[in-house]
């Protein structure tokens, strides 16, 4: 079945350490790719998106993501995590072959930041 997979439900990272959150998709055509962040009780904020071109995408708050077509992945990275980065992160995809712009979400990864 076509889907978006975030294999890590929870991740704990020490403050100042690097972070990588994984996202894989199973759509045949190259999709549009997004990462969103959600703080507790809040809405979703767009971190970055990839449509085409350079496969390394820079986003807000010091985040970046790399599209790897061969691995059907779009992993999110940050070189040094801050305590304020603790939140839930969602990978989302617009499948490239849909007739309209339907955004499909992964199940999310909750990031905990330890002192």
């Amino acid at each position: 079945a076509q889907s978006v997979t975030q294999p890590d439900i929870h991740i704990t990272v020490s403050e100042g350490a690097s972070l990588e959150l994984r996202c894989n998709y199973s759509y045949g055509a190259t999709p549009y790719l997004f990462w969103y962040v959600q703080s507790p009780g809040q809405g979703l904020q767009l971190l970055l998106k990839y449509f085409s071109g350079d496969t390394l995408v820079q986003g807000i708050k010091g985040f970046e993501a790399e599209f790897k077509r061969s691995q059907s992945s779009f992993n999110l990275r940050k070189p040094s995590v801050h305590w304020s980065d603790a939140a839930e992160y969602f990978c989302a995809v617009v499948p490239g072959n849909t007739g309209f712009q339907k955004l499909v979400f992964g199940t999310g990864t909750r990031l905990l930041v330890s002192p």
Partner: protein
Amino acid sequence: DAGITQSPRHKVTETGTPVTLRCHQTENHRYMYWYRQDPGHGLRLIHYSYGVKDTDKGEVSDGYSVSRSKTEDFLLTLESATSSQTSVYFCAISEPTGGYTFGSGTRLTVV
């Protein structure tokens, strides 16, 4: 960013009662969406609209209906609320640049 307002922000209702959630946008965007968010499921699409009076079902549409009589308003109705519809509901719009903007959400509790 497009202005999206959801109302109400919180609602508690009884099983079997009808409930309507409202999404209002100020930017005249064509596409609007209703998602529900539940732990372990991420966000799942309930219904979407691609224009006034043009709507279609998403992956979890059972028990929900929608209406869009004006470009700026997209209403989600639970015809007869059930406890399984306790959730956080998000409205979204998609912009011509390809981005998506979400409202602040409505937390609905069905008791």
